[in-house]
Amino acid sequence: MARKLIFFTLLVSVLFLAVELSAEDQKGGPVTIQYFSGWNEGEPYVPLFKKIIADFEAANPGIRVNASWNGRENLTKVRPMLLSGNVPELMDQGADELTGALVSQDLTYALDKDLALPAVGSKTAWKDTFKPGQLDAYKKGSENHIVPWWIDTTVFYYNGKLFSQKGFSAPKTWDEFTTLCDKFKANGLAPLAQDGGINFYNVYYFRHLVQRIMGNGALLKACGDRTGSSWDDPGFLKAAKTVEQLAKKGFFIKGFEGYTFPAGQIDFVQGKAAMILISTWLPAETKDSIPAGFEYRSFPVPTVAAGKGKAADVELYQWSFVVLKDAPHKAEAVQFLKFWTQKKYNDEMAINHDAMIAIKGTANPPSNPDAAKLMDIASSTSRFNDGVNSALPEYWQTVLLPADDSLIFGKVSAEQFIAQLKKDSKAFWNK
């Protein structure tokens, strides 16, 4: 009996000790912050991110960073954590997704006080280290909940060497653009590559033409109109007719509507089409497919005569960070973010991975020199897809994208497209 009692006491003591030793935030023990990343561990940028973590831990011995490389299932994986109260400090993903899922539901921490304080190793306020407009695009009212880092916009890419050989230059207006497309078609080269299987790539044409004709915010307003009557504005019909013309004239590469990603962008880098309208992550994605002699150049979506939008009006896709409001170690998380956004890491990301970074003074990515300059001189910034996919995601997915596919594939006329949008908008908002 005595032996059993001693054994039982020892067992309970060992268990108690184990629990105590494994507990975080012991007096004098390191603080651990949880970082839920939207990157998969096998992606080429992750070694740099791991290096940033290691450097931060070395510079801050009292803080550990526990990274989970969740990939694009990041928001799905954070849900049970939030519900169970085990809230990670940091997440990163597209600002549109973070806004739609977390910021809109008051789950994120407002960073304005921290942004007003100096950046790491500098006297400049952290907020003043960001390029113009980068912190404005995804504000929640007047508050900043998003820290953008890797930024993208949407441009037309072309092979600089091909254009030089043909004596062509980047068009500035839409009329110049269609004339250029005619010339390529006459030369036997498809003017435009397109991954027809990606519906949100297809809508780039309509979305950007609406911006060039009607300015920022017009598309979001029309999509949110429960009566559908906003679609009667002639600017939308003009944008739709312009897309219709591209399809009718056969400017898109043959068979594109049946493409599975990444067939369209592979066509482009292999010289089967002259240009492609796509986001500026393209050079990073096609790094291993570029043939010798290919020179990545780009131009912004051309302006439309009498339109409100300017060439330097920049749409932003921002791969961003948020700090979760209910996480226990928010101060340490912000400290880590400030450490992350230092020039040496920004430059390494830009040079080695062709990424554009939201911080001023970052080196230009070698394959995105034109887009980087565009970001520096942006006359205005707008949310990705004019904010429709984050503010009205179900409408975006079930009304606008399917209708736009029919337009760009040449299945409906511009008038039919607008009529469909009006009808489907009323049905959607009144269900």
């Binding site: 939030l82 519900l83 027809g196 049946g258 994208l401 009144n430």
Partner: protein, 296 residues
């Protein structure tokens, strides 16, 4: 059963029953509760809205479209799968040289993961260098070789053909297992009477296989409505609306991904409609396809 045996059954059944209750029944009941709420899944705040999710689904044009697409898959896919499976059953039934090899070949898609099969069919249907268009070009059928098999007009039928190809093997093996039980004496007697292979198939094999076929129909109804992995993977995780099945629509509504929809309550209501539809069709098929058991 004596008392001792009755007592011992309970503890042996208890673990499986408990697991089933905890991981299947309880979540299903909880899902019904979720479907009565407006809920994103990110917070504990659930707003009770009664049956509004269910009434919204009845007016949802996208749900109507997706339902028709799923019904089409079950109906047309079922007819094609069963016709081909019965054809192969007739062809490969009984003993013979090489029949084991062909059975294995027909069944082989069932041992390969759906993602790998989706990659294969993405390659087959590639308009530029895919297997199908390359073969058509080699045969001189250049007009057909320019068809966009994954374009909006044909993608539904192209994927349906691939799904039929995947499932034919399973149902062939199922029917052949049933056909192997039919006594050879019946066929010998029929041959003596002068019946040919086709006559024997329709007068002996098919009627005596009916119980297996009706069971197969039940399996297919469930399989057909639950189609997700292949449809999702073949489009590179961006399925066009033309190939949305009900499970794909539920996932898009509940889990968002690139488009942050996150309507757990509404998605669960749609999933409940799926449960009701499948249960109704399975019940009806069991009722109308049942017949008196034949013993031999």
């Amino acid at each position: 059963m004596n008392t001792w045996l009755k007592r011992i059954v309970v503890p042996f059944l208890a673990p499986a029953a408990i697991l089933y209750l905890v991981f299947f029944v309880f979540p299903a009941v909880q899902s019904l509760w979720v479907s009565l709420h407006n809920w994103s899944g990110f917070t504990r705040d659930m707003t009770f809205i009664g049956v509004r999710n269910f009434t919204e689904a009845l007016k949802d044009k996208t749900f109507h479209r997706v339902l028709m697409q799923s019904l089409g898959l079950v109906f047309f896919g079922g007819i094609l799968t069963f016709c081909l499976s019965l054809f192969f059953t007739g062809l490969l039934g009984g003993k013979g040289r090489g029949k084991g090899f062909f059975r294995a070949v027909i069944f082989s898609p069932n041992v390969i993961t759906m993602v790998a099969l989706a990659t294969l069919w993405g390659f087959i249907y590639n308009p530029r260098f895919g297997l199908l268009n390359s073969l058509l070009r080699a045969l001189g059928l250049t007009r057909l070789a320019e068809v966009s098999w994954m374009g909006p007009d044909l993608v539904y039928w192209s994927i349906l053909a691939a799904v039929v190809w995947i499932y034919v093997g399973f149902y062939t093996v199922l029917f052949m297992a049933g056909a192997d039980k039919i006594p050879i004496a019946f066929y010998e007697a029929a041959k003596l009477e002068g019946a040919g292979n086709l006559r024997m198939f329709f007068t002996i094999t098919f009627p005596l296989l009916w119980d297996v076929i009706s069971m197969g129909i039940v399996y297919w109804i469930i399989d057909g409505f639950m189609q997700f992995e292949f449809y999702y993977a073949v489009s590179g995780s961006f399925p066009p609306i033309q190939i949305w099945t009900i499970p794909i629509y539920v996932v898009i509504l509940a889990f968002g991904k690139r488009t942050p929809i996150y309507r757990m309550g509404y998605a669960t209501a749609i999933a409940f409609y799926l449960l009701v539809i499948v249960t109704l069709l399975v019940t009806l098929s069991r009722k109308f396809l049942r017949r008196t058991a034949v013993e031999y």
